[in-house]
């Protein structure tokens, strides 16, 4: 029997699948990577500059894939346009289309375009064939890379980053609100939900860029800037502390108030959700990385030890944040709203919402990132001249 105890008859089958777990995971990476980029651009943390462009491209790669799990999930994806035509203003989900477009075009694409414009113009003059055509289109017909023009780009880019920070919070925070505003579901319904989502997004995004930076530099045979990764790891640690505190606050609050849902939820966490919640999310995915990163903060470790710890902590973090999304989405559907029973999630494999499409959609952003990195190299020592943002206005 897939159910234990009593479920309302229509509740037995889960409605939101692993693809709905994947969607906040992807947008979380977008928001987190962008916040890391903004650390340098707005908050002048120079040490993380080597990751700036990579963070932006990472955000773009994941943002391009983000709507795909939703499209696969919809019963009628061909009607998705309706969200733009007749958005229902009382629905948090209706915001999706507009927030997504805003973030994609007005923030991310604009910022990348402005930061890369000089390289794009130079590449449009030095490459041949199809690549030349692509770069020429990207220049929008303007080849002005004088100091004055670059200064304008810099200024506008800075403004966009400043706007981008609350936009990133909105992009991911509204997903938290989608869950947090559902009074019917006590596992989801809490004002903390958008905040928890945002901070776990920051953790996952920072960890992802850290891993990509270290991994890509290793693949290219280039040295890793330790001052950079040490600083990134420090910010990862801070974000983790806040994230962990928020999650513990939620837990303690639930245990203390012990409302009508508590017993049912508590039993669920101890049984069906034990592995993904307690083992993977809390211990392996949060406590372990915090301890590892904390170790690097308090004691002096060799470069190689730090690199290994960062890599390990980064991987554990990715696993933990994915588990957090899983526990929210799937966990919220495993128990009955009558608080009298539980059901099981049957994930298919090669079905429309099964494991296979989820894996493909997780791998796809990396393929897109590969293409983006080739098209818009984040590193100065490639074909273009050294990138130096124009002095003066920063």
């Amino acid at each position: 029997m897939p159910t234990d105890g009593f479920m309302y008859p229509n509740e037995i089958e889960l409605q939101w699948s692993v693809l709905i777990v994947l969607y906040p995971f992807l947008t979380g990476l977008v928001a987190g990577a962008f916040i890391l980029a903004s650390l340098e651009r707005v908050f002048r943390v120079d040490a993380v500059k080597p990751t700036y462009r990579l963070a932006l491209l990472t955000a773009l790669a994941f943002l391009l894939v983000a709507p795909l799990p939703l499209q696969l999930h919809l019963g009628h994806p061909e009607r998705s346009l309706e969200m733009y035509l007749t958005p229902h203003r009382s629905s948090a989900m209706a915001m999706f289309g507009f927030v997504y477009l805003w973030y994609l075009m007005a923030v991310l694409v604009m910022e990348i375009w402005l930061d890369y414009r000089r390289d794009i113009v130079l590449l449009s003059q030095t490459t041949t064939g199809v690549k030349r055509l692509i770069y020429r289109v990207l220049t929008l017909g303007s080849s002005n890379i004088s100091d004055g023009a670059l200064a304008v780009d810099n200024r506008v880019g800075w403004i966009i980053t400043v706007i981008g920070i609350p936009s990133a919070f909105l992009l991911h925070g509204y997903v938290g609100f989608i869950f947090g505003s559902i009074k019917a579901n006590p596992w989801w319904s809490t004002p903390l939900m958008p905040v928890v989502f945002i901070f776990s997004a920051m953790v996952s995004g920072i960890a992802m860029v850290l891993l990509l930076y270290m991994g890509l530099n290793r693949l290219r045979g280039k040295p890793i800037d330790m001052r950079c990764v040490d600083t990134v790891a420090k910010y990862l640690f801070y974000a983790f502390i806040i994230d962990f505190s928020l999650e513990m606050l939620d837990l303690i609050h639930r245990i203390y108030e012990s409302d009508e849902s508590f017993r049912s939820l508590d039993f669920m966490v101890h049984s069906r959700l034990f592995l993904s919640q307690v083992v993977i999310q809390i211990f392996l995915g949060t406590v372990a990385p915090i301890l590892l990163l904390g170790l690097t903060q308090v004691s002096r470790l060799s470069e190689i030890a730090r690199k290994r710890i960062y890599a390990l902590a980064g991987c554990l973090t990715m696993m933990g944040i994915f588990a957090m999304r899983w526990n929210v989405v799937i966990g919220g559907q495993l128990f009955s709203k009558s608080f009298l029973g539980y059901t099981t999630y049957k994930m298919g494999f090669a079905t429309r919402e099964g494991l296979l499409p989820a894996v493909v959609l997780t791998v796809l952003p990396f393929i897109i990132l590969f293409v983006l990195v080739k098209l818009l190299p984040p590193w100065a020592d490639e074909k273009t001249e050294p990138i130096a943002r124009s002095a003066g206005v920063h």
Binding site: H76, E82, M83, P87, K337
Partner: protein, 244 residues
């Protein structure tokens, strides 16, 4: 075109008939039924329900409800109390469609609870629909526009009563429509029509002459999950406090 009198005499009634059938499709102009004159709800009397499942079967046949999904269902509650400690057991085999097996446990308080969409006046499901595919009609019935629904299932998540599901073939949200296609023609819902004991009765909360409306005014009634403030219009008489 040269219209002779003969042509005209043939065409005019044909046109009138065609016009009538077109009008019949428009809610306002359909003969007799004025949307603004109604505000629908339902009354369920727990003490009259015998758990026969006739309502579940009738609804499924009237509305082509797919197997394994339920626009209405019946739950059986068995409450055992030992020294002030209550244990609760609830079941709904196949939604109660084929009745319930008997249990011979003594000293157990047992009763049936029919459930369906509560057609909430402040419905959380219509609040969350991203495109306006589910809505409350001007006469108080929460409906789904099957031609517009995206199948995102946000409404299914938002319903506190578990009354919604996704149609496995049509891939749109589905739920009890209060047999809107029947009540707008002066009939009652399929479940009320087929309930042998009168445990389920349709109520028109805008009709002062409706006996069920009068009943609601003069008897103690309850709704499910009142703390959710959904404005539920499915009223129960004799609903035990243990019912979830």
């Amino acid at each position: 075109m040269n219209l002779t009198r003969r042509h005209f005499l043939v065409l005019l009634p044909a046109a009138a008939l065609a016009w009538e059938s077109i009008l019949a499709g428009t809610p306002e102009a359909a003969p007799n039924y004025q949307i603004s004159e109604h505000w629908w709800g339902m009354l369920v009397d727990i003490e009259k329900c015998i758990g026969c499942g006739n309502c579940v079967r009738a609804c499924a046949r009237e509305n082509n409800v797919p197997e394994g999904y339920y626009r209405t269902w019946v739950e059986r509650y068995r409450i055992k109390e030992v020294n002030g400690v209550e244990t609760l057991e609830v079941d709904s085999p196949d939604g109660g469609m084929h009745g319930f097996p008997s249990s011979d446990e003594p000293g157990v308080k047992q009763f049936f609870v029919p459930k369906m969409c509560n057609h909430c006046a402040d419905s959380p499901c219509t609040q969350v629909c991203p495109v306006g595919a589910t809505f409350i009609s001007p006469d108080g019935v929460v409906l789904v526009d099957e031609k517009y629904c995206l199948g995102c299932r946000y409404c299914v998540q938002a319903c506190p009563y578990g009354c919604r599901f996704l149609h496995p073939q049509k891939n749109v949200a589905q739920k009890c429509t209060l047999c809107y296609h029947r009540i707008s023609k002066g009939l009652t819902t399929a479940c009320c029509e087929n309930c042998p004991t009168g445990a389920r009765q349709l109520a028109d909360l805008k009709d002062p002459k409706d006996p069920i409306h009068e009943y609601l005014r003069t008897h103690s009634v309850q709704v499910l999950k009142p703390h959710m403030a959904t404005g539920a219009k499915l009223f129960y008489h004799n609903l035990d406090g243990a019912v979830r």
